[in-house]
Symmetry: C2
DNA sequence: CCTTCTCCGACTGATTGGCTAGGATTTAGT
DNA sequence: ACTAAATCCTAGCCAATCAGTCGGAGAAGG
């Protein structure tokens, strides 16, 4: 399992907010009911999203949450990172400012850490997949599958693209 | 953390075996010392690799492990899958025979699972990164980048007897 | 002032990750 | 035949994380 339910629930929450763009804020309760997710757990998740500056909150009655930016300017790398923490393939993997990567074992001596090449590739693949997707993409995808007529399944094309 | 140390240790183990291709089998003890990893933990990992048909074992004194195939015909997707189990981005994510993907929530009704698109992309990215890399690539990388030449010196580690 | 809602921290039960222990079995060398 | 060096197998342990609950303190609208 690459990610935990935090990412899953959190992304679904974001999509739900994205569907009500421009409207009044959406209460967590509404989201929980729509998505059949535990309210009190969502509270924790939305807190992370808020601290990351991805959603804004309005307290009090008729309050709730809304996106801090238009959905097409929110890329999913940000979202998933906010929910799951820094996404690294491995414990020893430390991405550095200038795109380089350091590895904890390298000090051990014998030879370069053989896995560095592999984890760098994996990290790149995930980062590309996430940052190449905006929340708007997901909202549109969800909308198409739900209210509107069925469209050709985009997941098939991507899955075969390896 | 995308992967656990199982993948890390297991891959390093495989690389170590790949460095001694054609030679006598390498004992786990030697690998453990070279890589400074706990022997008894490696035993569990190598068992998975053996069951997956990636390494062969020779029991008894002077026994050990060797690759079941040449390193350039072992792709890392197989290796990581053997170690970590099926690699899916999310609990609800079930890759199906024909490249399609099913999602547990889809039965829930309201609308298509919005996250499916995202996880499919992520899965594709990881799979591509892993299956596009062979063990030989890592062996070469480790040899080239290391401060020591990839010169095989198996006598040193095992040199207790005779 | 009461209801709705966000916010916050503490707590919990189950699972997983990383690792150790102990032994059974197989084989090479003497 | 004996012994040392290995693989193999099962069981269990401890700490951390996951997924979620609970109770309550604020803030805002009616």
């Amino acid at each position: 399992m690459l990610f935990s339910t935090r990412a899953e629930y959190g992304v679904r929450l974001m999509v739900e907010l994205g569907r009500h763009a421009g409207d009044q804020p959406v209460s967590l309760n509404a989201v929980a009911e729509n998505e059949r997710l535990p309210l009190s757990y969502l509270e924790h998740l939305v807190a992370k999203l808020r601290k990351a500056g991805l959603v804004e909150s309005q307290r009090g009655a008729r309050g709730g949450y809304r996106l801090a930016r238009p959905a097409d300017r929110i890329d999913m790398l940000e979202v998933v990172q906010a929910l799951e923490g820094a996404i690294t393939p491995m414990e020893c993997f430390h991405p550095e400012p200038e795109g380089k990567v350091s590895c904890s074992h390298e000090a051990d001596g014998d030879h370069a850490c053989a896995t560095k090449l592999l984890w760098t590739k994996v990290h790149g693949g995930v980062a590309k997949a996430l940052s190449g997707t905006t929340l708007a993409d997901l909202v549109e995808f969800a909308g198409a599958g739900g209210d509107g007529p069925p469209e050709p399944d985009p997941t098939k094309a991507v899955a075969g693209a390896a």
